[in-house]
Amino acid sequence: MSSAPRRALLAGWASSFWGMLTLRLLGVVAIVLVLSVLIFGMMHLIPGDLVRNLLGLRPANPETIAAIREQYRLDDPFWVQYATWFGNALQGDFGTSIRYQVPVADAIAQRIPLTATLAVLAMIIAAVTAIPLGVVAARFHQRPVDRAVTGVSVLGLSAPAFVVSLLLLYVFAYYLPIFPVYGGGSGDPLSQLYYLVLPSTALAVGLGAILMRLTRAAMIEALASDYITFARSRGLSETRVLLLALRNSAIPIVTAAGLVFTYVIGGTILVEAAFALPGLGLMLQDAVLFKDIALVQALVLVVAVVIALLTVAVDLTYAVLDPRVRSRRRAS
């Protein structure tokens, strides 16, 4: 059997929707694997004696040294060490944190709720404010409203999250003392939410600026297209016309979601530092400072996996949003 038809069949599959999704998934898995090798290998690059670094504050006697060498398989080749570590990591065992003296997985799990709430709250605030503003700016393209909104978005893009945090702290701590300015609040969820109002607003400013610009650009394109002219000529109300355009604008907005996620991840670290919030960001800084290698490896791997999962989620969202992607048979 000649290979040409088979190759053509393969090419056809690769350009169909499920083929593309499978290829993307494989790509994402490959990226996570490459990153995990880098993350693991990093520990050998840290200056100083590796065993001593891994021991941290624990006493360095023959038994503990032997235990560490055994745990990390330091007498075996690099690939065996890596495979052992990655295998354990897949089962949720990242070793013990030398800083917190508990299993790394537990230490991380304890911090997830705060950081996740902060990120989600910021995304909600940003979406609720930025998308309508973007629509309005696009609807009144090149008019004063558009200029004002775009100008504010430049300000939002140019103000780092920690600068916004500082300004909010200043205003709310001394002039409008209605929100708490430091810490994560007590255990109950409502008080935590209350403590997160200012931090998530600080994070939402930059995020909103990005989102607003994306929405505006996509809406300007959509509003200039023929189907909108046609919808208007059929006498649809302006609200319905805008909703129609917004639905078609969703695809370019979602395409840029990766940018938004990396911004959120960097931003939570800055905001947590500015507001002294005990989340994953502060934990990462702490872990690096105290050379808590197991914890650093686990945190970075978690970040990599979260980004990978979000990338796949974005690809799936395309299919939901755009029937053309779902029924795609041939590469365009």
């Binding site: 140019s158 500082l166 990766g258 990396t262 670290i269 800084q285 690096v288």
Partner: protein
């Protein structure tokens, strides 16, 4: 790249587009030039910015001899701000130019030649683009130590992928045009076609992007120095100054608010200048 927005402008002829006008160019360019001048002249204007006066300690703005007051260590806030402009701006300039250079070189080659090199570099840029800068910076600084130029070099590498992608797609778009076809028929060398024919035609995109990168780099670098990555404690730098001044919000708000505003103003000017140049290039393009 610019085609869709050009059609939008053609469809909706604005009476007089304010953006891209001369006043905007002068204002934003002026602010940037002034900031860069301040950074260059910093050592002359504020030679003893780091001089401490522990006995004096924190003073509010308006203290005799210290118009913006002093910080915890008795250092003059205004002098510190002037001296800090050096490390706050030198790095972003290098980052913007360095990533632009990498972007033009690799983006043009991968866009014009394509093939396996394009594929390899494409996968590497995919990988780098998925990395959150702040996380990488914190970890790299923890592993290799956090020197200023180490941090700048790392940011060049992390900024380059978006430049490579941008230039690559612009080059691919240009490669299909008749003038490149005729250059090929004349048997000009690929090197010459790429860098003498294609690159000059994508220059507006490159310049705009470099300015936007400069703005992002200011934000990124000052964020890192706020977190203690890249600048040593006690040195003059806007991010660092802001972090040091945070505890003094009540006694001398200027200690942290002055660098905060400086960062925002310079980043804003760079962003707006990028917009202005893009609008001018677009209008020139649509006038043809």
């Amino acid at each position: 790249m610019t085609a869709p927005s050009t059609t939008v402008i053609a469809l909706r002829p604005a009476p007089r587009a304010g953006r891209g006008g001369l006043p905007g160019l002068i204002l934003t360019g002026g602010v940037l030039a002034a900031a860069l001048l301040l950074a260059v002249l910093g050592p002359v204007l504020a030679p003893d910015a780091l001089e401490q006066d522990i006995l004096l300690g924190v003073t509010p703005p308006g203290t005799p001899g210290h118009p913006w007051g002093t910080d915890e260590l008795g250092r003059d806030v205004l002098q510190l701000l002037i001296a800090g402009s050096g490390s706050a701006l030198a790095g972003p300039v290098v980052i913007a130019l360095g990533s632009m250079l990498l972007g033009v070189l690799l983006g043009t080659i991968t866009g014009y030649v394509q093939g396996w090199l394009d594929f390899t570099i494409g996968r590497i840029t995919d990988l780098l683009l998925a990395l959150p800068v702040v996380v990488v910076a914190i970890v790299v600084a923890g592993v290799f130590g956090s020197g200023y130029w180490v941090t700048v070099a790392m940011l060049v590498v992390l900024f380059a992928p978006s430049d490579i992608r941008l230039v690559r797609s612009a080059v691919i778009e240009q490669s299909a045009r008749p003038y490149i076809e005729s250059a090929r028929m004349l048997r000009l060398s690929p090197w010459r076609i790429m860098f003498r024919h294609i690159v000059p035609n994508v220059t507006p995109i490159i310049v705009t992007n470099a300015l936007v990168n400069f703005a992002i780099a200011i934000v990124a670098l000052s964020s890192l120095s706020f977190l203690g990555v890249g600048v040593s404690p006690g040195s003059a730098d806007w991010g660092r100054q802001l972090d040091d001044g945070r505890a003094l919000l009540l006694s001398n708000p200027a200690a942290s608010i002055a660098p905060a505003i400086a960062i925002v103003v310079v980043a804003c000017a760079a962003n707006l200048l990028g917009d202005v140049i893009a609008a001018r290039a677009e209008r020139k393009g649509s006038a043809e």
